[in-house]
Symmetry: none
Subunit: 218 residues, 2 copies
DNA sequence: GAAAAGTGTAAAGAAATCGTAAAGATTTCA
DNA sequence: TGAAATCTTTACGATTTCTTTACACTTTTC
């Protein structure tokens, strides 16, 4: 689950944002001033920050330079164009003007949260191709028939190639389709998945990481 | 040098954009219709695409799904919000409304061109590297296979390099994975960890602090 | 200086995890 | 409704990891 920090001194807007984000399945953090924001960020590491500019104490412009490695979306009523450009050039990843359309805000959040270039329609790894549009997997141009659970598992593993994905993360990500999947049935699905891929190619793409989960190797 | 494709049937706006981008040091490509755009993209691979929506032939909405792996900024006079949100959710990386501020356009272009956030998280100490994403430890670029408990111990020690960490703190921090770990089994894990690191390098990174705990020395 | 407590390592036993197969349960679809 | 596909459960051997026990050694305490 992704965490988003809301930094806004306006309680109403903050509450509205918090409710909106939580409905979308995000976890939220709150801060109501610039100094509080910095304190919050010293203790937490959200995946994205919504930053208002007009804050008591340190304002948004002053907070921004202190934030590193986390995408910051400015959400502000300010319209000054040179200022806006400056913020975009100095670390903000986006700028949404109040009053904003919630749909657009959520869409822009999604864009900045999505793993690098996930407008990909195919995930490739050597001779293995997972087509996200066709919902199809092939090895050496030979189509491999996977069940939806196997497909979902392979997808999350390939989307995070070479990284270790915990069993719980996998279970979460397939819980929409397969809510009853347990640790041990996951084990079974992975075994079946491996078998199907192996039968075409002889390769085992999936590595078990003891006590943690699995890793897709490119 | 980065290349930007301008897909717009309006010659004036297209020329203006081209001049603007070239002044900023970008190379440019042009297309004046949807079909022409697809042809252009089959021969070239720009780093970013500026896409107008109202195009003759295939319009922008229809072109978008065919583009993979290249960030697409919609530049359009259309203001329909649901459409805007749909485009953002279906592959566009940004949406700028005509008439646009050139400064803002350039700033947004720069954002989407800037190198992917290297959310590579590593703890380094000399030749020892602990990669938090890969869940992997290496010494002198030689991978060292650790158990999850050994990894967890090394991680908390490296995160607090040069500071003394009490045995209880370590036990707490690994209690999620290894709840039954006691003082004396911790001793054993540290011994095993040291041995594995020592076998690559000969160095002992971990110092015991009498009666308290351990310290990782950089 | 001797007893008590702490540290470092090895080795063995206990426990957990992995990979697979087979069988039972559930869902899907004609 | 019945067959096929899919998912979950159970079982078991192989493997890995964790804990315990043992013992030599060092440091602290009295």
């Amino acid at each position: 689950m992704k965490t988003i920090a809301i930094i806004d001194d306006d309680i109403h807007i903050g509450n509205m944002l918090e409710e909106l984000l939580q409905q979308e399945g995000y976890a939220t953090l709150r801060a109501y001033s610039g100094t509080e924001a910095l304190f919050l960020l010293s203790r937490n590491e959200p995946d994205l920050i919504l930053l208002d500019l007009m804050l008591p104490g340190l304002n948004g412009e002053e907070v921004l330079p202190h934030i590193q490695d986390i995408p910051v979306m400015i959400v502000s009523a300010k319209m000054d164009m040179t200022n806006k450009v400056n913020l975009l050039l100095n670390g903000a990843c986006d700028y949404v003007t109040k009053p904003f359309d919630t749909g657009e805000l959520l869409a822009r959040i999604k864009i900045h949260l999505r793993p690098v270039r996930t407008n990909k329609k195919q995930l490739c790894a050597g001779d293995l191709v997972l087509d996200l549009n066709m919902h199809e997997v092939s090895v050496n141009h030979v189509s491999v028939k996977l069940t939806k659970t196997e497909y979902a598992i392979l997808k999350i593993l390939m989307q995070n190639a070479n990284q270790v994905i915990s069993k719980n993360t996998i279970l979460d990500s397939i819980s929409m389709d397969t809510p009853d999947c347990t640790d041990s049935s996951l084990k079974q699905h992975v075994s079946n998945l491996r078998k199907k891929l192996r039968e075409v190619n002889g390769t085992d793409y999936i590595e078990a990481v003891w006590g943690i989960g699995f890793r897709f190797i490119v």
